[in-house]
Amino acid sequence: MARSRLPCRGPFAGSRREFLQVGCLGGLGLSLGSLFRLQAARADTKTFQHFAGTARSVIHVWLPGGWAQQETFDPKPLAPLEYRGELGSIETNLPGVRFSEHLPKTARIADRITVIRSMTHGEAAHERGTHNMFTGYRPSPALTYPSFGSVVAHELGPRESLPPYVCLPNLPAPDAGAGYLGSAYGPFTLGSDPADPAFTVRDLALPGGVDPQRFAARQRLRDVVGRHFQRLEDTANLEAMDEFYARAYDLVSSERARAAFDIKAEPDTVRDEYGRHEAGQRMLLARRLVESGVRLVTLSYGGWDMHQKIREGITKTLPPFDQAYAALIRDLERRGLLDTTLVMVSSEFGRTPKINPDAGRDHWPKVFSVLLAGGGVKRGLVYGASDAIAAEPADNPLTVEDLATTVYHCLGIVADKELVAPGNRPVEIVDGGRVRNDLLA
């Protein structure tokens, strides 16, 4: 509980010590004068230092709509037809562990990943379940909580001229935003799909007619016309704007950083291995981004809200995921990145045990599946279990708080630390979770 340094670590370069202190408050709508009050408010709050985590980065694959555990990673081949559904299951390279018949590629890398079959919470509405799974908190009327990525941006800051938190292609849900931390910690969203042949990231490239020389001239001119105003520049807002301009210059000027967004730089063989579809190209771009320095990438894929004809839905949506996910895990391993990159696959909830009259399944948060791989979690583990019809956790139920706490732990963040919400209200990153050590390698 040592308070050896400022509780709030800003997102900006270390040399600007003073801005560091104030800049991180800017995101809270606070200003220089509030700094002291904030510190005062924090005197009795819980602070922890970061430690070296096992995961340097996170790829969070978000499957919006609520994916069916039965038709993916927790098939129930022995259950009656109305429970197990029409799809079959296959063996994996883990003895006794079966996945859906549409996961043949992932079945061959089952020994590299951890399948959690006992995820559980109580929110059966999309937006509430989404909030749970992105923030580790139940939705509150009083407070919007920050997502994983924003907490990571707030706690660890940027790396290698790249934004710390990227959403691709877009913000998957409002819950993936910065919440009470403020938009300075929000995701950098691409606004364009890497699966699209015309994919480019908005505003990243210099506009037509502006080459690097001209851009350098523009920067010089901007310095010239900005100097007069600079003498006023001890306000936090100006410093913060300057800082983001500096980061934008870095990003625009750093070929390496910009190259991270350039999916066309990948060899065709790799692009084909991931698959030329949304799942494949998004996961591939996510890998490029974390490899280059982005701390957390959230990508979304598919629409999993299969109230009708789940067999058709899964048959269409799952195979691209299977190809891309298996390719991602193999690729990370080949590059020696798997041990330092945590890949999490999650959804807002699972689906009902019984097939409904429309041949679909409805919302079911009581038990569903989540995948973790790399970044310090065990390989080849099936964690927890659902009961015979995938209706309740039968073993090791995993709460959203514990999942979030464990993910933060892998990144070296103590989730019991308190951040400051508006009104100087101290709020734990996660309230009451514990690290599930039995998930960790």
Binding site: S183, A184, R218, T235, A248
Partner: protein, 807 residues
């Protein structure tokens, strides 16, 4: 050794006497100003504060205190103890000043039994047992739960005495009770040691348990007020101690010294730290708000700390309005010298942006600078107040407060348009703000025929609606009290559900047009208290429960909110306006007024509110009062004394221009036009009616979607996407080319320096400095493409803080 000691003593006396003689107090204050002792157990501490000619105060450590008649009470170490029933006075003498404080003693010989609510529960609050991070958590902690800050005394009593019979209390051996063993750290306790075993607080628990841990036989005296003494202090130097005394007042007329039972906090520890016992120790220069909480009430006193031997003189200024008197008074007490008034060009750009959401055109600028009248600033303000852009800007602000937006299946685009037009007409006519709000809160009828009814259509949840109204029109966030008594404000769950009851009988049905709804009062429906399960009658926040049997509850509420006697509404609207012009409210955030978030200048806010109501709720007059003050016209440039001040308005703030205005200004200076759905080409972003209508620029620069009532939904913080968009996106690059401003001048043969001067005037509202002109020209001369080089100057201006910020 003895000699040394004597010398030291003599020296100390010499220093003391010289100080005392050099600067004698001009008066003394005694707290509390009247004293009542009402049981054998009752005690009352007394504080004496000396005041000096320069406004500072000093705690008198050992004042001479004596009873006027020794029969009724005794004084030991500054604490009064009852002896016999009767009335007398306490005589206080210090430095030649004499004060007499009336003292009443009643029931001097009676020793009432300990009360669970009045004596035992305050121990839990004081020791922190029922905090949110401890047993006050919704699920309790380690198997034991107390209601958060004690909102449910009956439940707490049950859990302590009945939930696990024989576990938490042991009447046979009270000190061995787990309750005490845990609290005193005698057995392992996650929360550590909260009480000293020998403390009075622990003794209270022991005595209560020994008496059989009785519940209160009936209702206990209701707490009606808490006084924290002294009410203010201005202390010179660090490391000075100032004790505080808290007195609770009850509905039955009794009071009680609760100094030992309060929780204390400071909002600024570096300036003034407060100990758990209520002792403040001063630190570095600044102002702190010292808070005390007892039961459901939190109160506070401001403490200003100024350095010793500070050489300070307040600048002499001429002119100034009543606003400045209030601001200057505060600055003088803080020993802060304000910045001077800004120059004319800065003023014109600032006031034009703030009043119309545009920058002055080159023509407007030269006309203003050529105006020979000494009060040309007042004239330009009058002119800007009459422009339609002023109306549009405030329609946007109100549309934000009212959260005007389409809601699928509830509020159609047509309803939004009508609602927006309704607002526009009211503001264009400068209709009294109270009438506008009264009409809105009490609105019934069709969402097309009476558009303000849309307010109740876009939020249909009773509790959320109540919260929205409190936040939008009273500037209060009462959300906390939905689930527990507000820990840092006065609102209890009773207040919350009493307020929500005003909205419970609203009903809606479809109109003839399927897109229209009829909002009406159904006359039935009640709000139930979630703890007691009982029906809660409508009750104004901090006010009375009105009779609402045969009228619409909302009419009663609307009348109360907009009454000139309502202390919150006028101040809130005034503060919203103030915030617009200073980038910071007198209460900050403007919709977060609460006891623990006091105004930085309470008298100023009170006077703004009073005058606003007295003016017949004339909004333009309120705005005029603000912008014609010297305070609004001060420069951003700071001096050594006000550099760190950003709450007392001693200098102008550098404020990022909000999303809509920035987009409009970009269009204005580049000669380009915006297009928004449903509006003609060239309309301003400020005019967009629907909160849902947006574009990449507006979203990126923080336009509110209006889904949330919170003023914080409008984001002003910078981001990487904003920087990238202005650097590389279409906002600057494409507009410069589309507008063709540079190209036209180059083609027309205008000399470079003249083009550059023109660009500076457009973007900055001023001419370039000589150095800026030379250095930018240097970039243009010798450039292979002259037009491109000049466009780069334009680009640089649009990307610079001087353009993006209002200052």
């Amino acid at each position: 050794m003895p000699i040394v000691l004597v010398v030291v003593l003599v020296m100390a006396c010499a220093i003391w006497s010289s100080v005392a003689h050099a600067d004698a107090p001009v008066g003394i204050e005694v707290y509390p100003p009247q004293i009542r002792l009402d049981s054998a157990r009752d005690r009352q501490r007394v504080l004496v504060q000396a005041t000096f000619a320069d406004g500072r105060t000093e705690h008198v450590a050992a004042p001479a205190l004596r009873p006027s008649d020794p029969k009724f009470f005794a004084v030991d170490n500054g604490v009064l103890r009852p002896l016999a029933d009767g009335a007398a006075s306490l005589v206080v003498e210090h430095a030649g000043h004499l004060r007499e404080i009336p003292v009443t003693v009643v029931s001097a010989s009676s020793e009432p039994p300990l009360s669970f609510r009045l004596d035992v529960m305050p121990v839990f609050a004081r020791a922190g047992c029922n905090m949110g991070s401890c047993h006050g958590a919704a699920r309790g902690k380690d198997g034991f739960r107390l209601s958060l800050f004690g909102f449910d005394p009956a439940g707490d009593y049950h859990r302590i005495t009945r939930e696990f019979p024989g576990r938490r209390i042991d009447p046979g051996a009270p000190p061995e009770s787990l309750l005490l063993q845990k609290a005193t750290g005698a057995v392992p306790h996650t929360g550590g040691k909260r009480l000293e075993p020998t403390s009075d607080l622990a003794a209270t628990l022991v005595r209560w348990i020994a008496a059989g841990a009785p519940d209160d036989p009936g209702p206990v005296a209701r707490l009606v007020g808490l006084d924290l003494h002294p009410p203010t202090a201005l202390i010179v130097g660090g490391d000075v101690r100032q004790p505080f005394v808290a007195v609770a007042r009850f509905a039955d007329g009794t009071d009680r010294d609760v100094t030992d039972l309060c929780w204390y906090g400071s909002n600024n520890d570096p300036t003034a730290k407060v100990s758990p016992e209520g002792f403040v120790t001063t630190g570095s220069r600044g102002e702190a708000f010292i808070m005390a909480r007892y039961d459901t009430i939190t109160v506070g006193s401001p403490v200003v700390v100024i350095p010793k031997d500070l050489a300070f003189s307040y600048p002499t200024e001429s002119g100034g309005t009543w606003v400045d008197e209030f601001v200057d008074r505060k600055l003088r007490s803080l020993r802060i010298a304000p910045s001077p008034v800004c120059d004319d060009e800065t003023f014109l750009r600032r006031v034009t942006l703030d009043l119309t959401g545009l920058v002055p055109t080159p023509g407007e600028r030269s006309a203003f600078l050529a105006d020979p009248r000494p009060d040309r600033r007042a004239h330009v303000v009058e002119e800007l107040l009459g422009r339609k852009e002023f109306v549009e800007l405030w329609v946007m602000k109100w549309a934000e407060i009212l959260q005007i937006r389409t809601v699928t299946n509830e509020v159609s685009p047509k309803a939004v348009l009508l609602y927006h037009q309704w607002l526009d007409r009211r503001i264009a006519a400068n209709e009294p703000v109270d009438r506008m709000v009264r009409d809105l809160i009490s609105a019934s009828g069709g969402t097309f025929t009476n558009p303000p009814t849309n307010y109740f259509q876009q939020e249909r949840d009773t509790l959320k609606l109540a919260e929205n109204v409190a936040q939008a029109f009273l500037g209060m966030r009462i959300q906390c009290a939905q689930c527990h008594n507000h820990p840092f404000d006065r609102w209890t769950m009773d207040d919350y559900y009493g307020f929500a009851a005003f909205f419970k009988q609203i009903a809606r049905k479809r109109g003839d047009d399927p897109r229209e709804f009829i909002v009406y009062d159904s006359g039935s429906g009640d709000v139930k208290h979630p703890v007691t399960g009982q029906v809660v009658q409508p009750k104004f926040l901090g006010g009375d429960a009105p009779k609402v049997t045969d009228r619409d509850r909302r009419e009663a509420l609307a009348a109360w909110i907009t009454s000139p006697d309502n202390p919150y509404f006028a101040r809130h609207v005034a503060n919203v306006a103030w915030t617009h012009f200073f980038g910071r409210g007198i209460v900050h955030e403007p919709d977060d007024a609460r006891v623990s978030n006091p105004p930085s200048n309470g008298p100023l806010l009170a006077e703004l509110g009073r005058r606003f109501a007295a003016s017949g709720w004339d909004f333009r007059r309120l705005v005029r009062d603000i912008v014609l003050s010297r305070t609004y016209q001060r420069s951003c440039e700071t001096n050594a004394t006000n550099r760190l001040d950003d709450v007392n308005f001693s200098h102008a703030a550098v404020r990022r221009i909000r999303a809509e205005v920035l987009l409009d200004v970009l269009a204005e200076v580049t000669d380009t036009k915006n297009k928004f759905p449903g509006l003609p080409l060239g309309a301003r972003a400020v005019q967009v009616a629907d909160g849902r209508t947006t574009n990449y620029f507006l979203t990126t620069f923080g336009r509110a979607t209006r889904d949330d009532v919170c003023s914080c939904a409008v984001r002003m913080d910078p981001s990487l996407s904003q920087a990238l968009h202005l650097l590389n996106g279409d906002a600057a690059n494409d507009r410069i080319r589309q507008g063709g401003l540079v190209a036209r001048q180059v083609d027309g043969g205008t000399p470079d320096s003249e083009i550059i001067d023109g660009l500076f005037v457009r973007c900055y509202g001023r001419m370039p400095t000589e150095r800026e002109r030379i250095e930018t020209l240097a970039g243009v001369i010798g450039a292979p493409d002259r037009k491109a080089a000049l466009e780069d100057v334009f680009w640089a201006l649009l990307n610079s803080p001087e353009f993006i910020f209002n200052h």
